[in-house]
Symmetry: none
């Protein structure tokens, strides 16, 4: 099966926006056993969109376009594709009712411009937009109609193929893909066996991870195992993939090899983030959490509260950027701050104790450090971090040196703090 | 001038890695006056790389490939392109000396695998890699040699074109582009004038923004102004672009039209985020900020502390998920919570007052709401949010209805809270 993506959007070609659709859709499709063959991005211009779509249709069994379905003047994909395929756009009452409801729910009148979104190519399947207004569209193309717009091309087979058109905003595209496109794929295309499993580790660098596992995986590679390594802020993913009838067995064997070698350093699988694991473990154990963040500036709280159901276990946190906030909210003693400095194991210790006592939580995690670019000294250079974990068993403090630019520093440090808690929870 | 990018890498097609090269290169090229026409991504496989390169060369004046120049077994772009062009790979002593030096500097022996990097297509310009080992390559192609590999294609003109090959790691590609490709472009291609300005607005939906500005921009569109709209969580970007000798004048006039109409709703320009603007305004006015976050769960603090220099104006915040945290840390009265509920204007009011008093800040922003999916009532449905801003002038509370899934809800609400503060700061 041959799949191509066509991403439309002048903002992509001007470099104003990162194309997250490619990664997200390629990932989802690979997980379903379908690896994307080619991805193309072009500006919102008539000829470019039509020729890119026609070329993709001449090669692929499934073409997915993104963008250009909205209500504004640069949203022209729907019209251009209909023209390319020689299909009329017809008003769709179901879509109109859906859009009316969308605005009614928000207490706003429906803008006249959205009327354009209610017109769909005749015969198209319509995917109502659960999180926006523009519907997605899918068309089964049994003829060679996509050749009409572009003169003589290569020779596609006359067998049927699918064209799926999705809206550009990620919050609309993603649920629509999962809710509407996945069922279509399962219905229309033969299952292909492709197994991909990702083991997510933390605490070991990427090349060291590879050195540790590659020799033991070699026999499986000879059987068809494909290995990939991916370094993330504070984490390294090991990707194991295989196709064909023995894929499941090969990947499962690879997984047990990697698990045996990396052991506790593996925090999760596939799309699991460390905060998902922490919230799950806290929920299972009926324990609560409080946070005291200095240099991470709310990053840990932000990640924990992104997990649905976090409110059952997360009581709250203090972002204590100023020293006075450490004293007033977390009961850090002024003499500790004066004697050891705000970035010290003693202050991390008191922050964690203070947060646990004042929130009345089972666990409290505290972080203090120097994010940079300024603020370093020879003794405590930029990147120095102390992380403390308070529980009924007392307080544990660890020191780290995270030499990254500001935003990455915060994410790496947050991962280390969550990992300290995860280790405690799994060993408890 | 017609430019195409060809990104190679199996990890791209499996969706394990985000393609940041597209945005970075498109942005850099647009800033130089050259808008990229098309971008393609394909896996590290022989036929796919050769056909994508040949197709791009048949259309473009400049083709830039990324990836596949390294020393490992999946780095095959150099060999495949040489084969496509019928060029021999010849050993290059300058590259060898550079790689020897690279490893000598790090006190490590040169791995034998890197020898492959010292072979370059005959006649190619070599860009030594300042931050790695694999050199970049550039070739002026005066004939139609790129057609040989692919049979009959379309008919390119016989005029000369450039093929530039860059290594995949961003830390190698980026300095190499700036140091070696930019001078090549300036030498080989005529300067083109292209001006692009983005005005970032908040508080008005995408289609309404267009309705408001399009009629007044129409005369400029006739003169060559290109307009784009992009919806972000809580914000809408209006992008104005033009080429040619009058581009600067046209874009400047468009900017003043949009500014006049959207007025205060414009919070920033180009890459500015609303938190950048807020930190800048606070710094200029020598004012401090504290936060009290419930439903945003640290999202506002996380965004504010991503801005370098935030520590000069941001004292800290409380993430008060539990009601008891609202009482203990922010002095919200139990009877207020009982009488009005945690999601109410009265509680938002007291949270803001409490945060301002306890942090001793000039401004305090407080947020309480229902992120969902659970917790809604007919009276206060999921998405209900109260945002309060406390200052020396008293407290102001606004109510919003943000019907989005959890992570987007947090970002949209954080943007509204920062916008309330920004408006107050600009009007002060």
């Amino acid at each position: 099966m041959n799949i191509e993506l066509v991403n439309t959007g002048s903002e992509l070609m001007l470099g104003r926006v990162l194309n997250t659709h490619q990664q997200w859709l390629c990932r989802r499709l690979a997980d379903l056993g379908h690896v994307v063959t080619r991805q193309v991005a072009i500006a919102d211009e008539g000829k470019k969109i039509q020729s890119a779509a026609a070329e993709a249709l001449s090669r692929a069994d499934l073409v997915i376009t993104t963008g250009g379905l909205g209500p504004t003047s640069d949203d022209i994909t729907r019209e251009l594709i209909a023209e390319l395929l020689g299909k009329k756009l017809v008003a769709n009452q179901e879509v109109l009712a859906h859009i009316e409801k969308f605005f009614a729910k928000r207490g706003r009148p429906r803008p006249a411009k959205t009327t354009v979104e209610t017109f769909v190519p005749e015969g198209a399947l319509v995917f109502l937009n659960a999180t926006g207004t523009a519907p997605g569209l899918a068309m089964k193309l049994a003829d060679r109609s996509w050749e009409l717009g572009v003169g003589a091309g290569s020779s596609p087979s006359a067998s049927s193929k699918w064209l799926v058109m999705l809206p550009g905003p990620p919050r609309e595209l993603r649920p629509m893909f999962d809710d509407s496109v996945v069922p279509l794929l399962k219905r229309e295309f033969a299952d292909e066996i492709f197994i991909c499993r990702t083991l997510r580790s933390t605490g070991i660098g990427e090349s060291r991870v590879q050195e540790m596992v590659e020799a033991d995986l070699l026999p499986l590679v000879k059987d068809g195992l494909d290995i990939g390594y991916c370094a993330r802020p504070g984490a390294v993913d090991v990707r194991l993939a295989a196709g064909g009838t023995s894929a499941k067995k090969i990947v499962r064997e690879g997984e047990s090899v990697v698990q045996k070698i990396l052991g506790e350093n593996i925090f999760g699988f596939d799309d699991e983030e460390i905060e998902d694991v922490v919230v799950r473990l806290l929920t299972e154990r009926k324990k609560t959490l409080a946070l005291a963040e200095s240099c991470t500036g709310g990053c840990i709280a932000q990640r924990v509260t992104d997990v649905p159901g976090a409110s059952a276990v997360f009581l709250g946190g203090v972002v204590s950027y100023a020293n006075l906030a450490k004293e007033n909210f977390l009961c850090v003693r002024p003499e500790t701050l004066q004697q050891h400095g705000a970035v010290s194991d003693a202050v991390a210790w008191e922050m964690a104790l203070g947060a646990r006592a004042k929130f009345g939580s089972d666990f409290a995690v505290a972080v203090t450090g120097i994010a940079g670019p300024g603020g370093g000294t020879p003794e405590k250079p930029v990147g120095t971090v102390f992380i403390a974990l308070a529980s009924a068993d007392g307080v544990e403090v660890k020191k780290f040196l995270n030499v990254w630019e500001r935003a990455v520093f915060k994410q790496v440090t947050a991962t280390q703090a969550l990992e300290m808690l995860r280790r405690r929870l799994v060993s408890a």
